[in-house]
Amino acid sequence: MEFDVELENITKTFGDQVAVDSISFRVPRGSFFSLLGPSGCGKSTTLRMTSGFEQPDSGVLRIAGEDMSRVPPYRRPTNMVFQRWALFPHMTVFENVAFGPSTRRVAAAERRQRVGEALELVDLTAFVDRKPSQLSGGQMQRVALARALINRPKVLLLDEPLGALDLKLRSQMQLELKRIQKEVGTTFIYVTHDQGEAMTMSDQIAVMNDARIEQIGSPSDIYDRPASRFVADFIGSTNLLPVQVTGCSSEMNEVRLGALAFAVPPSGNVTEGAAVMSVRHEQVKIAHERLDLDATVGARVGEAIFTGSAVRYVLTPEGIDSEIVAEVPHSGVEAQFSPGEQVHIGWNAAAVKLFADG
């Protein structure tokens, strides 16, 4: 497999603030790669080092196999879509999109043809003569995309390009971006703090936290097999419960959650003693009658929260100190539970992940 972008032990500090702490990853050619993490974790800094706007303090950065340490931004085979798009306000859509080819001395006739193609790709041919101030947010976003893609970069870098759009337009643009990426076959590196966005579009996701990468994997890897407590908590919604591991073997871990004891498949570096277990909201089953699951317990319904596609129940289980949340898809046929009601809840061992405490 060929890699378009490779980072090896890249570190960047601003004063005494470590923005990126020895991160490494490789992005396969033609793939859609996301950097996902909470605000301030170093996503933008990573992207800006790839584009050349920031220099790493140490480490090696290669694009298409070439070391980039001495290559200025204007000579890198990358292009960037900025967070607020950074369209040139004094130029028309045409001039904005033609900017890249004109600095690279592409002949006028070819330039015009390429601008036409690029605008067609983003479905904006009708707007060539408008100024950015005469466009909507979604249209500006498309111009920024066309302006970057027209240069046929090896790697397209996108820094939360959908952050300023409304929810509806966002999900529409997510599909559109994915379509365009497939159509042009360019490697995309996409920065976002929205896990849904990363899940929808990416081939691979690197989850970042506090200047480090916590896990790299496909969306389903990250969702189903979170490598750390942070990833389990950040992606999707999960119950994180303090437990005691009472027995460790290669086949099973014995776990005690309050009065409830059950066995789960072994995972990672858990040892006997205090640990944290994660069970996703939608993996917690709820019923009036006793459930036939690996771990079951009686509980009282505290609150029922209707979210449209699902109902979320906050439950107080018997003999367990923490509250547990269960999410049930809402289709109108499932049994409803009301606050104060006594119910049974439970989950399967396979749905439980254990993490060392801390």
């Binding site: 706007f53 931004p73 204007y74 292009n79 960037m80 967070q83 600095t103 100024k131 970057a148 240069n151």
Partner: protein, 297 residues
């Protein structure tokens, strides 16, 4: 039929809110309006009146004549004076922009806050000293035995001292210095308002330093440049102290003509000179405002 229309219209007519005039802004403007009326409009009216009087053999005659206007239009002496004034204002403006833009750029790009503060203070310093002091300072600096000539001679750039003072050159140099804060800061303020990601975007799209400057930074800071030109041009038109001190009686720009006429009690020439100056300033403001609108996106 008529009835139906009438009822229809009463139904459809939107309910009018009782009209309430807001007198507050007018009230707040009152002191300014009074002051302007007393110190600007009233003298202007007097000026207009005086401009039609006749001045003969050192005596003022209260008449109604276009004689002075005619003289301004036909007399080569006054033509030269008007031309000198415009020429001086234009050179000062050109020089101010030529020096002010790079200075503003430097002030903007310096990323050491301490140095930036000091440079800002140096640019601002002409305002802190009186015009008279500054102008006398320049006569010393630019004199034939002054430091500037000493350096030029020492470096072998010239063989004999250059006449830098008591002529237009000295006036232009000094005025440019005095107007520096008024040219640098409008330009600087458009620069700091520039979104830094625009320059990054240009660089990302393959533009080197010069292309980024020419195609992004310069066009987007043009409004500041035009504003700076407008300020220095109109200020130069009305400059009086500097031309009178550094001109050494040889630079007879309009404000000096007006002053000279008033000391001769030649009110008609002073009035017409003042009105011509006002007209020039007015035209300049209009032209620059047009340019400003054009330079903005």
């Amino acid at each position: 039929m008529v009835d139906a229309v009438a009822t229809g219209s009463t139904v459809l007519r939107p309910r009018r809110l009782p009209k309430r005039r807001n007198f507050m802004p007018l009230f707040l403007l009152l002191p300014t309006l009074l002051l302007m009326g007393y110190t600007f409009l009233a003298p202007l009216a007097t000026f207009l009146q005086f401009s039609f009087f006749r001045f003969r053999k050192g005596r003022l005659e209260e008449a109604f004549t276009f004689e002075t206007y005619q003289r301004f239009l036909t007399d080569p002496y006054f033509h030269a004076s008007i031309a000198d004034t415009l020429y001086m204002a234009a050179t000062v403006t050109g020089l101010s922009l030529l020096i002010g833009y790079p200075l503003a750029f430097a002030l903007w790009r310096i990323n050491r806050p301490g140095l930036q503060k000091w440079l800002g203070l140096i640019i601002f310093s002409p305002i802190l000293v009186s015009v008279v002091v500054r102008s006398y300072g320049w006569t010393v600096l630019l004199a034939e035995q002054g430091p500037v000539n000493w350096v030029l001679l020492g470096l072998g750039i010239v063989d004999e001292p250059v006449r830098l003072v008591f002529n237009l050159t000295g006036v232009v140099i000094s005025l440019t210095h005095i107007f520096l804060p008024f040219t640098v800061f409008p330009i600087f303020s458009t620069m700091v308002r520039l979104d830094p990601s625009l320059r990054e975007a240009a660089m990302d799209l393959g533009a080197g330093w010069w292309t980024t400057f020419r195609r992004v930074t310069l066009p987007l800071t043009l409004p500041g440049l035009v504003a700076a030109a407008q300020i220095s041009f109109t200020l130069a038109l009305g400059a009086f102290v500097t031309p009178s001190i550094l001109g050494g009686g040889r630079v007879l720009v309009l404000p000096l003509q007006v002053y000279r006429a008033t000391s001769d009690i030649n009110w008609p020439v002073a009035a017409v000179g003042g009105l011509v100056l006002l007209m020039m300033a007015f035209i300049a403001v209009v032209v620059f405002n047009r340019l400003l609108k054009f330079s903005e996106i």
